[in-house]
Symmetry: C2
């Protein structure tokens, strides 16, 4: 019997992935670049137990048992087991790869945060499976089969997902641009926006974009290749002003393509656009880009900024987007060092009505998945059932 528990990070794309060239193998139309966020604030956690005594594969997600017949889940497990048996000799009947597994996974952040929980979840699953079955080497292309952007969560720092050119997808994998330690003063604020609209899933949204948006074709062919190189230069040289401009432009262009889709896919709302306006006004008042926004397929903002600006920016956000009177833990995560005279700051836009933001998470760039050791780390008990049940 083998039991392994891992955690894996969330990642936020600064150069966006939108559109697949192969739906089944999850191969993207363009390269993308993301920042891996620290697992201290947000992570998926997965325990996998493999045993010759288990009679069937089972999986529990966020406390609830789910069907194991999910095709993407099966694809990931089968690929890991295939790789595990590549080097094996002798009697295959005794091979560990015939063992059934129990999988238990949960996120430590609410799904309401609208953060790509599937990316952290599949990265964690695949990393953990690799440890259980002793698979070495790059696992990003396996994680990609679970959820495209999951391939970027198997590495820390800034990560590039190469679209690859081959039909079998073997060259569509992630590589590290720089480690987390490269840019230590880069911080991140996640602004969780109040929203109750039903949303277009990103899978179906990007399918529609590929089918109907001529602007997406132009973006993929002519804009992203140049922008990829500019991003890498800005990150390598820690040029925040340029990095911020590229990040904001690419977020806007991604949502622009969504709007050029027929019918349009709309992910940002009025609150998102008020945050955009806040950031541009603030940067203008500073004469340089001090903050960059980026929005995924949802209304929440992810802001990048430098450590020395966090206190002032958080104070201004609280004034421009005041919490409801009864809001608990409006600022979460890393400590925020407030400026001394925070009430004397000039609020760049707003103030808006209270309650437009639910809460704010302060975090930073972090490492890739890790194995947890020590007492009591597992989500499954000795019988292979969730401790939470």
């Amino acid at each position: 019997m083998t039991t392994v528990t891992c955690i894996a990070p969330v990642n936020i794309a600064t150069l966006k992935y939108w559109g697949k060239r192969d739906e089944h193998l999850i191969l993207p139309l363009n390269d993308s670049i993301s920042a891996t966020l620290s697992t201290d604030q947000m992570h998926a956690k997965t325990t996998i137990m493999a045993s010759p005594d288990f009679t069937k594969d089972r999986i529990w997600l966020n406390g609830k048992e789910e069907s194991f017949s999910n095709q993407r889940l099966l694809t990931c497990i089968n690929e890991i087991k295939r790789r595990a048996t590549l080097g094996e000799k002798g009697d295959e009947k005794d091979s560990k790869s015939n063992w059934k597994v129990h999988i238990c996974s949960e996120n430590n952040f609410p799904t309401a945060a609208g953060l790509a929980s599937s990316a952290a979840g599949y990265a964690c699953l695949v990393y953990c499976l690799g440890k259980v079955f002793g698979v070495e080497g790059d696992l990003s292309s396996v994680a990609r089969l679970g959820s495209g952007s999951a391939c970027r969560s198997v590495l820390g720092g800034f990560v590039r997902w190469h679209k690859g050119d081959k039909d079998d997808g073997s060259d569509s994998h992630a590589s590290q641009v720089v480690p987390a330690s490269h840019w230590p003063n880069l911080k991140v604020l996640i602004l969780v926006v109040s929203d109750n609209r039903k949303k277009v899933s990103s899978t179906s949204g990007m399918q529609q974009s590929v089918k109907t948006s001529e602007l997406l074709k132009h973006r993929v062919e002519h804009i992203v290749p140049k922008r990829t190189e500019l991003f890498i230069k800005a990150i390598e040289s820690r040029n925040f002003n340029t990095f911020a401009e590229l990040t904001m432009k690419d977020s806007n262009q991604f949502h622009s393509v969504c709007l050029d889709t027929y019918p349009p896919a709309v992910y940002m709302n009025d609150i998102s656009h008020a945050i955009v306006e806040f950031v541009h006004c603030y940067n203008k008042s500073k004469g340089t880009n001090k903050v960059a926004y980026t929005f995924d397929a949802g209304p929440n903002a992810c802001l990048f900024l430098q450590e020395e600006d966090v206190g002032e920016v958080v104070s201004l956000i609280e004034q421009a987007f005041p919490p409801l009177d009864n809001a608990k833990d409006y600022i979460r995560g890393l400590e925020v060092k407030r400026p001394k005279a925070q009430n004397d700051l000039a609020v760049p836009s707003g103030p808006h009505e209270s309650g437009l933001l639910k809460y704010i998470i302060h975090t930073k760039i972090g490492e890739g998945p890790q194995v947890l050791t020590g007492h009591n780390v597992h989500l499954l008990n000795k019988e292979g059932l969730p401790k939470s049940l």
Copy 2:
């Protein structure tokens, strides 16, 4: 002394104009197509009095005297006077073109409607000036010098503004695609949306787009030329389904380009997007396009639909977007024939909270500018001063 009073229509672009190739001459980057709306519901009205006794040029807009030093106003007047004197012989000192003018203009629709009042206003001004000074021939290129889209308001029906290729702009004028009588059952609903954001002016928004949006370049060079031909075919053949799809796609692409602008120019709001969703859900339920939306540089929707569908669509809009309890005249303009069992209709999306729409104007495609005759049509009294003062 000469006194002439004219009215001129609003126009709504279905193929959008966005971006100038010459700021001074107001030459567009691409052709555009618009529908001229009936002056019965919405128009600008202008009285111009020219007299050898006036000592200076004066202008009153919506009841308030304005400076005559507005460059675009001067450009239009000088161009009309230049054309008026082209055929003249003899003593220029006695020429009418040396007379000073008093101009009084007003719109019969609130500026809150966010409709392009400058288009109707400049079309009316130029048409009226032409009558006063006896200038014949196409005046669209003069109206263009006042406000680009005004050139499309000098004609009725569907109108095409040819971008032209010449540097001097002499081939950038409007022509009629079909007269208003060509598609008599085509109706229009203007949905006036509640909004209190400050807006990016369309002049500065399009300047920024030209500077910063690569997607605009692609649109202008590769998409609009094809779409222009498709639009003309759909209009000529009265193919509503195709006309609707082209109209919605072009509206979306225009706002997509605005979002790809840096900083982004955002004109639609959450209510606008709720209307978009309503239209797509309704069309889906009907299995064909029964309604088309288009949005200019503001949050208000302009819907095109066929006469036989107006009653049902208006009833559904009222249910999906209910008025405030104290709303007066929620539906304005042409009579709406309600379906008998309007409460049994399936509302395609919503219902939303009350008060998202201020009111709705029901109108149709109409004629170009007209001279008003008869008693009491003038906005100026015999002394050349506004009657309203």
